[in-house]
């Protein structure tokens, strides 16, 4: 049964001091599914992400990746099991070149581990793979620039590139289009669709256009609880969701 | 590319340093001691004494041989063995054949070994090492060599002298020994225990301990132990701020007996002890300053003060180094053949203006001379230290101290 779910959350809880931020989340995401988590500000979406990726230890409950319990694992161990994430605030290596950023994200997946006897520049395989990713995220022209000087959208693209470069099959994106213009958003959405082909995607997003355009299923998180999960049209129709959140958001959009 | 040009510049500068060798007319003596950093005051004062001695005792009297003058060339070693070795090399390159050093036995060990190796490997540019203050006994025992001459009494001889005086003091029944935790501090403690055991077996050693060197901020806890032990006298080999801190703490916390020590005068120490140290501090040294032993010494000191009003002659042996070297060069008839000069120094008997005969013992190159036990006081002081009104006055003298002291030195002559 568990083999079917790429990611499974069971009664996940998290408290900071006396405040309970995540109040028992159960969620199962199938392999190859594109899943979006939405919810009003302060609902605990980012906390949920951080719990899944081992950034914070949960207060209660379990996270399973491909059926394996992630309790007590460090972020790098979770990553090696095939889960990769991006960050809400752009989180790249600003002093290194764009190419280096991508190459670093490939190293572990390509099996270089902590080796100090290989020259990275001598590996044709690595260079080609990194260049392929640059091509894919459309940053080939920026190859040699320090990542810190890229435009915001380009940095977000790079962030996504880094996130999926390692070949993880479960990809988590935290607000990939936050703070972007319409054209930039379109570019990123296309990119996400393209790079998550045949992969499991979990994302937090505010932009409903992006969510309904991309997601196979949607979960709505309100005050640390999932009030609804289902296909976009089901969620849209759910009165509970409309009451809590969606109505206001939809109104604002139109 | 950049680094190479810089490297070129470096070497050019280094070369310009060594180029001075060309004008070697004078007989140069390299003074390798700290001129910067925490021990710079001792070093600078020593340098002044050397320069003054060379000027007054040699150059003003027409020089040595056929009018060759002495020149003191200062090198700053920052009390670092590594820097000392670099500066030693620079000095040798400048054609200098006589090296004087004194502060820190650690540096002296480094230099004496380097000199021995250098002389073995480079017979054309041999040098002599004139050690004027490093007192680790090993330098004239296990680690002795033909090129090293010590003009100060070593720690064992000094302790022998100190304990001679202590043994005569019937008031002393309990002694506390405390020192810095390194070779010299340990040597002092061992010598004190051995000597006291021999001369006054009835004296009880109520404390014998070491404290980390240069790391103690407040000596009060140590002072408390001294007082709690009801000791009548304290022996310490401390120097620098460790001496001052320990001495002041012991006295200020209620100790009233004598503190027997080696290095508690000059370099600001006498001034800082001031009234506090009066009646307590006793130190052993060669060379008598108060009362001035000879008219010559008095005139010499006065002339020194006229030139350096803030200076002290706290190392009378420096003038002995210059005097004995000059005499040896004259006897050998050469200043370039250091083997001849060394042979002349060996076994030399020299009459110092400080009222003592000095005998350079040939078997270990240890100078034997009268030692004095001085008291820190402001009474009967002709020449004070640090312009503080306080100075050291000789209380007792041990003639030719350590004349028959044993040595394990196995001297290999070239």
């Amino acid at each position: 049964m568990s083999a079917a779910a790429a990611l499974q959350l069971e009664g996940l809880r998290k408290s900071f001091g006396k405040t309970e931020i995540i109040r028992g989340v159960d969620l199962s995401i199938a392999k190859g599914e594109r899943h979006a988590v939405i919810g009003p500000n302060g609902a605990g979406k980012s906390t949920l992400f951080n719990l899944i990726t081992g950034r914070f230890p949960p207060t209660g409950g379990k996270v399973r990746l491909h059926g394996q319990d992630l309790a007590g694992l460090a972020p790098f161990q979770i990553n090696r099991m095939g889960l990769s994430r991006s960050f809400q605030i752009t989180n790249i290596f600003p002093k290194m070149s764009v190419f280096e950023n991508v190459r670093c994200s490939l190293l572990w997946a390509k099996g270089y581990r902590y080796s100090f006897w290989n020259m990275v520049s001598k590996s044709r395989d690595l260079t080609q793979a990194a260049d392929a990713i640059l091509e894919q995220i459309n940053l080939t022209e920026r190859r040699e620039l320090p990542a810190g000087v890229l435009s915001y959208a380009e940095q977000r693209a790079l962030e996504i590139g880094i996130t999926m470069a390692g070949g993880a099959d479960v990809i988590m994106l935290d607000e990939p289009t936050a703070g972007m213009s319409h054209s930039e958003t379109d570019y990123i959405v296309d990119l996400i669709r393209q790079v998550t082909e045949n992969k499991t995607l979990i994302m937090v997003e505010h932009d409903m256009g992006v969510v309904f355009g991309l997601a196979d299923r949607i979960s709505v998180l309100v005050y640390g609880e999932i009030v609804a999960t289902g296909r976009p049209e089901e969620v849209r129709a759910n009165p509970k969701v409309q009451e809590a959140y969606l109505g206001a958001a939809l109104e604002a959009e139109h | 590319m950049r680094n190479t040009t810089t490297l070129g510049l470096t070497a050019a500068l280094a070369l310009s340093v060594s180029a001075t060798a060309v004008w070697a007319e004078n007989i140069k003596i390299a003074f390798i001691d700290p001129l910067s950093g925490p021990f710079a005051s001792t070093g600078t004062n020593g340098l002044h004494q050397y320069e003054f001695a060379a000027q007054t005792m040699v150059n003003d009297k027409g020089g040595v041989l056929e009018g060759d003058m002495f020149e003191i060339v200062p090198f700053d070693n920052k009390v670092s063995p590594k820097e000392s070795l670099i500066q030693l090399q620079v000095a040798i390159d400048q054609g200098i054949r006589f090296v004087a050093q004194g502060n820190s036995s650690g540096v002296a060990h480094a230099i004496t070994e380097a000199v021995e190796k250098h002389n073995k490997r480079n017979p054309d540019s041999r040098v002599l090492f004139l050690n004027y203050a490093a007192v680790d006994p090993a330098l004239t025992n296990d680690k002795c060599n033909f090129w090293h001459f010590r003009f100060d009494a070593n720690a064992d001889i000094k302790m022998d002298a100190l304990t001679d005086v202590m043994a005569e003091n019937e008031d002393i029944a309990k002694v506390y020994i405390i020192g810095q935790d390194y070779s010299f501090g340990k040597a002092v403690a061992a010598a004190a225990v051995a000597n006291l055991g021999e001369k006054r077996p009835d004296i009880e050693i109520v404390g014998n301990e070491l404290h980390p060197i240069g790391k103690v901020k407040d000596f009060t806890p140590y002072a408390r132990k001294v007082i709690a032990s009801e000791a009548d006298a304290v022996i310490t080999g401390n120097w620098g701020s460790d001496m001052l801190g320990l001495g002041k703490a012991i006295i200020e916390n209620g100790f009233s007996g004598p503190i027997y020590t080696y290095y508690a005068a000059g370099s600001g120490m006498t001034g800082a002890f001031g009234e506090t140290g009066k009646g307590a501090i006793r130190l052993v040294s060669e060379g008598q300053v108060n009362p001035p032993p000879t008219d010559e010494a008095k005139a010499y000191y006065e002339a020194f003060l006229a030139k350096y009003p803030d200076g002290n002659i706290d190392q009378a042996r420096i003038s002995n180094v210059i005097g004995m070297l000059a005499q040896a060069i004259n006897e050998a008839g050469t200043a370039t053949d250091v083997v001849a000069v060394a042979n002349a120094l060996e076994g030399m008997e020299y009459d110092s203006m400080w009222g003592t005969k000095i005998y350079m013992r040939p078997n270990d190159h240890q100078a034997i001379q009268n030692l004095h036990i001085n008291a820190h006081t402001d009474e009967g002081v002709t020449f004070d230290y640090d312009n503080s009104g306080f100075g050291v006055v000789s209380e007792s003298m041990i003639e030719m101290a350590g004349m028959d002291s044993p040595s394990t030195c196995d001297m290999k002559r070239p």
């Binding site: - | 925490p38 980390p212 007082i227 800082a272």
Partner: protein, 318 residues
């Protein structure tokens, strides 16, 4: 028993002195993130300034004026040096203070020379206040205790009862938020730096006469102050106090009791080698507590950092 009491008093003096330095340093560190390596140098400046002033106006004027000058100098360093380096990040900031410490030592040597200064306690305090079993307690020590206590209490008052104190306290825990609330953080920084260095100056003024006024005095105390605030936990004034006293007492008691390693080793069943001088372990066998007393704080710090990286009282990572 009497000796314990005496040691408690001595340790208190050392600890409170350390506290005057570490209080300022922990404030500076936790507000600005700067490990101020030059902190002990300001302590040294305090002693030297006070000595110079005492030559003309006496000890008490020195006590009054010197810390003010040190504080102004500290604020100046923040305003014209540190603030400029701040933009490059924390490592250059730290290296800046490191260089500053070197430079201050050189300048002190340039002006006052390399000898120890004959700076001594005022005549009025040069008497033995009382004795415990033959151990004299000089009046000056009690004066030092009173001074440091007074400073601690006023510091506590300022921090908990005044508006400025509230801002500083808030800035300790939430530096970014305070800035966002529109407080003039650069000014607060300059003020805290000035006050912190002035505190170090006071420590220098009152410690100079007993611990000696010489160019090496900053180096001797420098790193131990860091150790104190790291052990205590950053941003915690109470932590600084507890750690200072702890270190004061540890070093005092370690120096006072000759616990020998040989006894401990034998107690746990090792046999002492017959010929100690030939044994490779001879240094271990001859080790005594006073020998290692002054390095115990470093050992403590390493252990604390390994097992509890935020110190005894700290809330944040160091």
């Amino acid at each position: 028993m009497d000796l314990i009491l005496v040691n408690l008093i001595d340790g208190l003096v050392t600890g409170l002195l350390l506290f005057m330095l570490s209080a300022g340093l922990t404030l500076i560190f936790s507000m600005m993130g700067v490990l101020n390596f030059a902190h002990a140098s300001f302590y040294m400046l305090g002693a030297y300034f006070a000595y110079q002033i005492s030559l003309y106006l006496g000890f008490w004027m020195g006590l009054l004026i010197a810390p003010v000058i040190v504080g102004i100098a500290g604020a100046g360093v923040e305003r014209y040096g540190l603030r400029r380096v701040h933009q490059y990040g924390h490592v250059p900031e730290l290296i800046f203070t490191f260089g500053l410490a070197l430079l201050i030592e050189e300048i002190v040597q340039f002006i006052w020379g390399k000898n120890q200064m004959p700076y001594s306690p005022p005549e009025i305090l040069q008497f033995t206040l009382f004795s415990i079993a033959g151990n004299a307690i000089p009046a000056y020590k009690i004066f030092m205790i009173c001074m440091s206590m007074g400073i601690f209490i006023s510091l506590l008052f300022v921090l908990t009862r005044t508006r400025v104190g509230m801002v500083i306290q808030a800035a300790l825990s939430y530096p970014k938020t305070v800035e966002a609330l529109g407080h003039n953080v650069p000014l607060v920084f300059m003020g805290v730096f000035g006050v912190g260095t002035a505190l170090a100056g006071v420590a220098g003024v009152i410690a100079g006469p007993v611990l000696g006024t010489f160019p090496g005095m900053a180096f001797l105390l420098g790193s131990i102050v860091f150790v104190t605030i790291v052990i205590g936990g950053l941003g915690s004034l109470w932590g600084a106090l507890v750690a200072s006293l702890l270190i004061g007492w540890i070093t005092t008691f370690a120096a006072s009791y000759n616990v020998a390693m040989a006894d401990i080793l034998m107690a746990v069943g090792f046999e002492q080698p017959i010929d100690l001088s030939e044994s490779a372990w001879r240094d271990l066998w001859s080790l005594t507590l006073p020998q290692i007393g002054p390095i115990l704080p470093y050992l403590l710090m390493v252990l604390i950092l390994v097992f509890r990286p935020y110190g005894l009282f700290g809330k944040r990572d160091v």
